[in-house]
């Protein structure tokens, strides 16, 4: 699509990828919405499903909008992101785990 590149920049996405990303994220928003508004699943299953949808949507944004695959090597940005996500997970899961008091 975008042949017109000065300075030999990488190809920062194409219209197609943006449109696919957009459609996917809309779909991934509507599914949990419908599930929740109509209480279609049992509670735990529902929570898990909508969290998975959110994560999928994050992945979609990463690949189709933020172009995580592109860019120069080594991919310091990807490494930082992964480490950051690990820490975020630790913060959230750790807090919940620790703050459940008085239980074995």
């Amino acid at each position: 699509m975008t042949q017109h590149q000065n300075h030999g920049n990488h190809d920062h996405g194409s219209l197609k990828s943006y449109v696919i990303g957009f459609v996917l994220s809309i779909v991934l928003t509507i599914i949990p919405l419908v599930l929740v508004m109509n209480q279609m699943l049992e509670k735990t299953a529902l929570v898990i499903t909508i969290l998975v949808m959110a994560i999928l949507q994050f992945v979609v944004q990463l690949f189709f909008f933020m172009h995580i695959r592109e860019g120069e090597k080594p991919r310091y940005n990807v490494q930082t992101l992964i480490l950051g996500l690990v820490i975020v997970f630790t913060i959230i899961a750790g807090s919940i785990w620790i703050m459940m008091f008085n239980k074995y």
Binding site: F101, N102, K103, Y104
Partner: protein, 327 residues
């Protein structure tokens, strides 16, 4: 100054300091090193084990340091080998990744084992007695749900009986610590933490608040008296006979900021402790601690007639979920 001389001095001081600590370690003022009950005993053993395990590696490394620094000092006549490019040796490096792993594994085993052990009563033969501890600004209130008495800054317990402490606060966070009997646990508003302690020898033990809680924190200490079961029962009777009962007003007075003398009460408002916990509860499930309790606490016994009148105005306390505490 030469390196050797310097090192000898460093070593002299470290050793001097360590010996002071260790030699005097037997002195009775070293509360932690003179355990008077099974919990403190367990912890004492862990302290010894961990000291030894650490020493096993630290002492040789200290010696090695001294040796290397002495041997390879830059002296014109030093005949020790000099290999400026020698910078890698897989076997050696494997050793020093490996040895600490082993030590940590052993230490970890003991740690985990005792962590679980100390969550339980240290003595399975004898049924534990419950004492509720409330940290106030800057004093400790103890309520005995089974005996239905209460004390301030003074705790008496029977020897040989595990005591199940339920600990909360109506003040900034404190920590309940009786080093001779065992380690501490935090006292926090809106939560009930637990701690088992047991005294094996009669005696008087020092109790501390070890979490900073403001101006008069340094004086927030209490005394623990452990005595044989019969004497303890005798003491309970005495308190019941001679001391006033604690009223709601007394409690409100007590919780105001300030220090307090030792105090004894022949009774306390029913469910006082639970009420204190519930007042600040932040959505935590307290069942686990509460259900170990024999019965709703406080003055519901009809033995001493003068106390009954107080229990009536306690019965319609709001904000309490009695059902969750019934068993």
């Amino acid at each position: 100054m030469s390196g050797g001389k310097m090192l000898r001095q460093i070593h002299f001081w470290i050793l001097a300091a360590l010996t002071t600590v260790l030699l005097s370690g037997c002195g009775s003022e070293y509360l932690v090193l003179n355990p008077k009950g099974p919990v403190a005993e367990t912890q004492y053993n862990l302290i010894i084990i961990s000291t030894i395990l650490c020493a096993v590696i630290i002492v040789p490394v200290l010696a090695l340091t001294a040796f290397i620094v002495y041997r390879y000092r830059d002296k014109p006549d030093n005949k020790a080998p000099y290999k400026p490019e020698w910078a890698h040796n897989t076997a050696l490096e494997a050793i020093w990744w490996g040895i600490p792993v082993v030590i940590i594994a052993i230490l970890g085993y003991f740690t985990v084992r005792d962590t679980y052990v100390l969550k339980e009563s240290p003595n399975k033969e004898v049924a534990p007695m419950t004492v509720q501890v409330t940290a106030l600004d800057w004093k400790w209130m103890f309520t005995y749900p089974e005996q239905n008495i209460a004390t301030v800054n003074h705790l008496e317990i029977p020897v040989g009986v595990p005591v199940h402490f339920q600990i909360s606060a109506e003040a900034p966070m404190n920590s309940f610590w009786v080093p001779s009997l065992g380690g501490q646990v935090y006292a926090m508003a809106g939560m009930a933490t637990e701690l088992y302690l047991q005294a094996d020898e009669p005696g008087e033990y020092a109790g501390f608040s070890s979490n900073f809680s403001g101006e008069k924190f340094a004086h927030m200490q209490f005394k623990v008296v452990a005595k044989p079961k019969e004497e303890f029962d005798q003491w309970v009777k005495e308190v019941k006979g001679t001391s006033p009962a604690m009223t709601k007003e007394d409690y409100n007075e007590l919780k105001k900021q300030g220090l307090s003398e030792k105090k004894l009460y022949s009774a306390f408002p029913e469910g006082l402790f639970e009420e204190i916990v519930q007042r600040y509860s932040h959505g935590h499930d307290m069942d686990h601690v509460m259900k170990k309790q024999p019965a709703p606490t406080g003055d519901k016994s009809k033995e001493t007639s003068q106390e009954t009148q107080q229990s009536t105005d306690m019965s319609n306390m709001h904000g309490m979920d009695h059902s969750s505490m019934k068993h």
